[in-house]
């Protein structure tokens, strides 16, 4: 995690504030930056992330779009091709499906198909994830629907300092970036955020906690729970290394492999469904590159393969993991 050096000033903020502050700076610093999406203007986004932006920067820079996700992204692609630096918002990640064509077919391929003549410097931000009683259509994880797509970058930071550093990196990036914000962490997770403009390189995982018995790779909300579980296990005498992936594509092979070579055991933890999820690639990569470093099967602790969490509390509870469930998965693998 980016930590502030003694000479650096910083602020304590939560993830939602970190998004807000970073977007604000981007708007301040570069007149090519525009924000577009549903209810981002007058209301300032459903989580109030862009509250008062329209007042300060004008409605032509903070655009309340019609309800039409394909064109929200598609128009942003056109803006990007023509020199603006759009930041498009999908109100909830669950509503990104209608924009799939524009993201996968267009944004991801603009540079490639034109042999570099046209580029698409575009950020698509969207809140994802569960644990907020969002039911079937306000709590899905979407990363695995996109991470197979060459031409896209996908970020899913978990800590406020990473949110800022990676969102800045996404905004500066000359290619399209899908920026995933776990909505449960918005107000829950607080941390120190350095002042001023800084970026965190895209494609670098972060070892949150060193350990020797077991490597755990996670991201988003669950990385916090994995850390909590690891601290619990520390007291039980089991030393768990916790890696925050942060960047889903490109993925930090080196950090994962180094860790697995040290601990010789790998557990991937994610909120999304298991089959074909991010854990599949992590696991496959390790099985290809470091098989003989392993002392145990590679385990994936993920959501059961049902469409999403139900609205009723027991359904959500069953779908979601918890620090306790993650700790149990860690123990099991450590014992192996």
């Amino acid at each position: 995690m980016a930590v502030s050096s003694p000479t650096q000033t910083s602020q304590i903020m939560n993830n939602v504030d970190a998004v807000r502050a970073t977007l604000y700076d981007a708007m301040k610093n570069d007149p090519r930056t525009v924000i577009l999406g549903e209810d981002v203007g007058a209301r300032g986004n459903v989580f109030l992330i862009t509250k008062d932006f329209a007042k300060e920067f004008g409605p032509q820079r903070v655009i309340d779009t019609p309800i039409a996700e394909a064109s929200i992204v598609g128009i942003a692609v056109g803006m990007a091709m023509e020199g603006l630096r759009p930041i498009a918002e999908i109100q909830f990640a669950d509503f990104i499906y209608p924009a799939f064509n524009q993201i996968v077919g267009e944004a991801a391929k603009t540079r490639y198909r034109s042999n570099g003549e046209y580029t698409c410097p575009l950020v698509i931000r969207t809140p994802y994830g569960g644990g907020v009683r969002g039911a079937l259509s306000h709590s899905v994880s979407i990363e695995a629907l996109f991470y197979h797509v060459p031409g896209l970058k996908i970020l899913a930071p978990a800590f406020p300092a990473d949110v800022k550093g990676l969102l800045n990196a996404a905004i500066d990036d000359p290619d399209p970036v899908l920026f995933l914000e776990h909505k449960k962490t918005y107000r829950l997770i607080k941390g120190e955020v350095p002042d001023g403009h800084y970026t965190i390189p895209i494609g670098k995982a972060n070892v949150l906690k060193e350990g020797s018995a077991l490597s755990v790779v996670s991201y988003g909300l669950y990385v916090h729970w994995a850390l909590e579980a690891a601290q619990q296990l520390e007291q039980e005498g089991i030393s768990v290394e916790v890696i925050d992936l942060r960047s889903i594509r490109p993925m930090d092979k080196t950090t994962i492999l180094q860790s697995v070579e040290k601990t010789r055991k790998l557990l991937v933890v994610h909120e999304d469904n298991k089959f074909g999820g991010i854990g599949a690639e992590i696991s496959a990569m390790v099985a290809e590159e470091a098989l003989f470093s392993l002392d145990a099967p590679i385990r994936r602790h993920c959501a059961p393969d049902v469409p999403a969490m139900g609205y009723a509390e027991p359904l959500e509870h069953e779908y979601m993991s918890s620090p306790a469930k993650i700790a149990e998965a860690m123990r099991e693998l450590a014992r192996f």
Partner: protein, 341 residues
């Protein structure tokens, strides 16, 4: 209460009987009562989320009266409490949905207001706006394909939802095949915080109909009798092979978008108050009393009935069990769930 100038004038009732007029009014009262109940339960911390249809009562109760039970299909959206009630769902069913109980049609899986009832002819839908509109068209195609004259589909959405590509594709397809379907837009002038002028280049949605070669019509959705007339005519046309119609019912969203929204951040009290003057519930009460369809005492009795029904439904639904953890795993495919499938 808004003054109406109907007294003395003959009531233009579009063929509705006194019983039907009273049923419409009952629906409107029940909607409002259930609406309030949702918000109240939310404030009490008993439900995490509720949505209100205040301002849509007349439109929905009037439209529902044109629906023929056992024949037509309804493909509604999340603000259609009154339509759901009007085609036969009970207050108890509504509250099961609100409380996310196991006995809810969706087994507590979906957000409240995402009704579904195969027996009532209410098609299941998701939270993804406009995604249900092609489903309605497909169902209308099935009816026509099987030669089922006398049946039609009523599909609704909000004004904001007409911007989605799937809305356009659906209306276009239905027009080509002259399907038995009515596209009813409930125009409440807002899509969460986005006013109509930021949703579309000109505000009269019904005018799009000509582009598809189908009839289009706008009506006053604060008036349930006018609403009934418009929807009934369009459904009749659909049922008898006359093809689709695009209807735009004008109404207003009196409340915030949902319990998660604060509308005072983007619109003024004054604007809301101006529309409140036309509030369809007291307005229709006055019409019925003025024309001796109901007495003031009848109305009071009805209000008590509706409140009692709401209370009973609340108690009954609240007492029902939640789904259990095991219920997460049912009905994914036909047959039993298996991991890694």
């Amino acid at each position: 209460m808004a003054k109406t100038d109907t007294k003395g004038k003959k009531l233009e009732r579009n063929g509705l009987s006194d019983d039907q007029l009273r049923a419409i009014f009952r629906n409107m009262l029940l909607q409002r009562q259930l609406d309030n109940r949702g918000f109240q339960l939310n404030r009490q911390g008993k439900v995490p989320f509720a949505l209100g249809s205040e301002g849509h009562e007349a439109l929905q109760a009037g439209a529902a009266m044109a629906f023929q039970r056992g024949k037509d299909l309804l493909a509604p959206y999340y603000r259609d409490l009154g339509l759901a009630l009007g085609i036969g769902l009970t207050s108890y069913e509504i509250l099961l949905s609100l409380f996310a109980r196991a006995a809810d049609h969706n087994g507590g899986r979906q957000f409240p207001n995402h009704y579904s009832s195969k027996s009532a002819g209410l098609m299941s839908f998701s939270s993804i706006l406009a995604a249900h509109i092609p489903h309605a068209v497909g169902a209308a195609y099935a009816m026509k394909y099987r030669g089922e004259r006398g049946r039609a589909v009523l599909v609704t959405c909000g004004d904001g939802t007409t911007s989605e590509g799937e809305w356009h594709e659906s209306v276009n397809f239905a027009s080509i095949h002259k399907l038995p379907i009515v596209f009813l837009v409930e125009n409440n002038l807002w899509a969460i915080s986005t006013p109509i002028e930021h949703q579309m280049g000109q505000p009269e949605i019904w005018k799009r109909a000509a582009g598809y070669g189908i009839p289009g019509h706008r009506f006053n959705g604060f008036d349930p009798i006018e609403t009934y007339g418009s929807v009934n005519e369009a459904l009749d046309r659909a049922r008898s092979g006359g093809g689709p119609t695009l209807l735009e019912g004008m109404c207003y969203r009196f409340l915030a978008h949902s319990t998660d929204d604060n509308d005072m951040t983007y619109r003024t009290k004054e604007e809301v108050a101006a529309h409140r003057k036309e509030d369809p519930v007291p307005r229709f009460e006055r019409v019925l009393i003025d024309h001796d369809v109901m007495s003031a005492a009848d109305v009071e009795q009805l209000k008590r009935d509706v409140l009692r029904e709401t209370n009973e439904a609340t108690d009954r639904a609240e007492a029902m069990p939640y789904p259990t953890a095991a219920d997460l795993y049912t009905h994914l495919y036909e047959g039993a769930w298996q991991p890694w499938q």
